[in-house]
């Protein structure tokens, strides 16, 4: 009898360990089924891009990973989603803790109407125990990691709302990483930014993957090609294809994937 593959063998990521395991996950909004039986295994410290036309379920699936869909009425989820081997939908999971482990950055930057410093320190205050110098160190480190430090170090106590769109988005990334999550979810983080600010966010994502696992929803195919290690293509709630990004963009298994990534539809 042939040997069964170890769980890691299911991961399409380059040489990494499994961190997120989605199994037979379906999601209903009332009567309509937004995600249909999705199974997907994502590796640790890799960038995974979710792509597909509007309404395909990619953002919905992204939001399953930190239970953001819990906030919506009438949502029903079947199947399982494990992070580090533990089902995040099991009753014993503390959702606040989960969202600490799984940070999120949205399409529209949403800094708090506070100072730059306070935006990054906010989560640290909320979660507790650090002293002022420790918080200051984490704020600096997070702003450095988000490639924002040099631009804001002389005005840390100015309002975050005075920053440019690109800077605000990097501030949101700094805020997300300040509380040291394992995973960062990004929902079209650069779609509202100009090309230069977009390029900075892309470079930042490639830097951040040294320390974090990143899942990004994007409508920009070349962005997915530039920054992700693996890509999942969704269409009307179904996962059509999931593979290494190089494979998806040069030799996809499905015609539908090829048509989408080369701009034939969507």
């Amino acid at each position: 009898m042939p040997k069964l593959n170890p769980p890691e063998a299911k991961t399409n990521s380059p040489g990494s360990n499994t961190l997120i395991q989605i199994e037979s996950l379906s999601l209903h909004y009332g009567e309509s089924k937004a995600l249909k039986n999705i199974s997907l295994t994502l590796g640790e410290k890799v960038v995974t891009a979710f792509i597909g036309p509007s309404g395909c379920g990619k953002s919905t699936l992204l939001r399953c990973l930190n239970r953001m869909n819990d906030l919506i009425d009438n949502v029903r989820i079947e199947g399982s989603c494990k992070i580090g081997g533990h089902d995040i939908y099991s009753p014993d999971v503390d959702v606040i803790e989960l969202r600490k482990r799984v940070g999120m950055v949205f399409q529209k930057s949403n800094p708090f109407p506070k100072s730059i410093y306070e935006n990054v320190a906010y989560g640290l205050h909320l979660h507790g125990s650090k002293s002022k110098p420790e918080i200051a160190a984490v704020v600096e480190q997070s702003l450095r990691s988000a490639a924002l430090w040099d631009e804001v170090k002389d005005r840390l106590h100015a309002s975050a709302l005075g920053l440019s769109g690109g800077q605000q988005q990097r501030l949101c990334i700094a805020r997300a990483i300040a509380i040291k999550p394992e995973i960062i979810l990004m929902d079209e983080p650069a779609s509202a930014l100009d090309p230069l600010a977009t390029a900075r966010i892309e470079e930042l994502i490639l830097e951040l993957k040294k320390d974090f696992t990143i899942v990004i929803v994007t409508h920009n195919m070349q962005q997915a090609a530039r920054i992700s290690d693996q890509t999942a293509f969704f269409y009307i709630g179904e996962l059509i294809e999931f593979d290494s990004t190089a494979k998806i963009f040069t030799n996809p298994a499905k015609k539908q994937t090829e048509d989408y990534v080369t701009g034939r539809f969507g």
Binding site: R200, E202, F249, T250
Partner: protein
């Protein structure tokens, strides 16, 4: 912040340079094995050819992945030119292998007493390879353009050697086998110069976005 796409392009450039150095070494050693009747060296050149082949495969893989990332126009030219340069280098490696194969056979037979200038031809072809690659590295279209007409000089030398050897074979039929080896080796040097010319033309396209292939015939 580092630019990851630029890093990818740099890696591609480095790979081309490594491949180029392998190809140049192969040509050098094949000519050396031919002229010095060095059997062992000829065998080694043939064995090393698969390394050059592997470079071609790897460069194509890198280039195709870079192409999916929507490069800028100048980068697009660099990537496609890199693929063509690597293909020409691979063929230069193949020609070196052919020379080495003839060198191996000739080393096992008595020398042919013909006074022809294969050394000069080898020096010319090798200089063209080296200078076309320098022009690629330095993005120097003027240097690249200067290489192109030299191909004709190598062609002329090849014809001269060919007729000298043909004449020798007529007078000394016992040397036909060995002279044919020399004719094939000279032809390979002529092809190496052709590939160097191709690389030079690609450098002009890379720098000036102008395709000059097949435009300078007579």
């Amino acid at each position: 912040m580092e630019n990851h796409f630029e890093m990818g392009l740099d890696a591609l450039r480095q790979k081309i340079l490594l491949m180029a150095s392998r190809a140049e070494t192969a040509v050098n050693q094949s000519v050396q094995s031919l002229v010095q009747r060095d059997y062992d060296l000829a065998i080694r050149v043939r064995e090393d050819d698969n390394i050059i082949d592997q470079f071609e495969v790897e460069i194509d893989e890198m280039a195709i992945v870079l192409l999916t990332k929507a490069p800028l126009a100048s980068n697009l030219r660099l990537i496609t030119v890199a693929m063509k340069v690597s293909q020409n280098l691979e063929r230069i490696g193949d020609e070196a292998t052919k020379i080495a194969k003839r060198a191996r056979d000739l080393a096992q037979e008595p020398a042919v007493k013909v006074n022809f200038d294969i050394n000069r031809m080898a020096v010319m072809a090798l200089a063209m390879v080296k200078e076309s690659l320098d022009a690629f590295v330095q993005r120097d279209p003027a240097a690249a353009r200067a290489i192109i007409p030299r191909d004709k000089e190598v062609d002329a030398l090849n014809k001269e050697i060919h007729s000298q050897l043909a004449q020798h074979m007529t007078l000394n039929p016992d040397t036909i086998g060995r002279c044919l080896h020399w004719i094939v080796a000279a032809k390979s040097l002529e092809r190496i110069a052709d590939h160097a010319k191709n690389i030079a033309e690609e450098v002009v396209y890379l720098c000036e976005a102008q395709d000059i292939r097949h435009t300078l015939k007579n």
